[in-house]
């Protein structure tokens, strides 16, 4: 081994900007912030709910209204759909290939199954919330 191996100069903080695939990777990684944010938002809802008074819950609902919240949730919904939900479904055949004897289940079966299951789960949640 050489005494002074060549180390390609590379920024530790902006390395992903050099390549389109790495940029998409970082855009996907950012959805973890949304996951954390909405988990805590649900937790804040639970805090309001645990007070046991309708007024407190209505205050929480009122605090979540307004054009800035519409903009936030609208942006978050689109960002999350494309960079987490659809990305996760489309990667599923690579993460969890299904072996059938000698062959593998075709990737698009697994992807389509995810979208179908997602539609069912979403419909169930909207039904549970009384939105449909």
């Amino acid at each position: 081994m050489s005494r002074r191996p060549y180390v390609r100069p590379m920024s530790r903080t902006t390395w992903y900007m050099r390549n389109g695939r790495f940029k998409v990777y970082m855009l996907r990684e950012l959805t973890s912030l949304l996951v954390g944010f909405y988990a805590f938002l649900v937790l804040f809802g639970l805090v309001a709910l645990s007070a046991g008074s309708e007024a407190q819950w209505n205050d929480f609902l009122a605090s979540q209204q307004g054009p800035e919240m519409i903009a936030l949730h609208g942006f978050a919904l689109l960002y999350f759909l494309f960079y987490q939900t659809f990305a996760w479904f489309n990667l599923a055949p690579k993460a969890m290939p299904v072996q059938l004897g000698e062959k593998k289940l075709p990737a698009h079966f697994i992807v389509i199954a995810h979208y179908v299951a997602w539609a069912v789960v979403s419909a169930f949640i909207f039904w549970l919330a009384g939105a449909i």
Partner: protein, 113 residues
């Protein structure tokens, strides 16, 4: 890290990723409905309180919060490294502690309901 611990950390990350991918679009859409003043009837006090008071409601709310927080903590840990913050021990401790604290608070408030 031992293989057993790695399996646990990764398994919870994968479970959280799958759960949030399926459930969070609807969850965000519900917040969008609330934000626009169209709160669905199921989220009015009586109904949502009854849901959170039931064992099924408690279990699903805890499952969503716990797995989402764990998933976010694990991915933010990797993102911190990718963004040049290379103090994994400290970053991991802080993030997993926040996730554990949030999960414990979820249990506490769910028990109160």
């Amino acid at each position: 890290m031992t293989i057993a611990r790695k399996a646990l950390v990764w398994g919870l990350f994968a479970a959280g990723g799958t759960l949030t991918s399926f459930v969070f679009p609807s969850l965000i859409a519900l917040f969008l409905l609330i934000a626009s003043g169209n709160t669905p009837v199921g989220l009015e006090y009586g109904q949502i309180h009854a849901f959170a008071a039931s064992w099924m409601g408690k279990a699903s709310l805890f499952g969503v919060i716990f797995l989402a927080l764990w998933h976010a903590a694990h991915r933010l840990r990797v993102a911190a490294h990718d963004l040049g913050l290379r103090v994994d021990g400290l970053v991991a401790s802080v993030l997993y502690l926040v996730a554990a604290l949030g999960s414990a608070l979820a249990v506490y408030y769910l028990v109160l309901i």
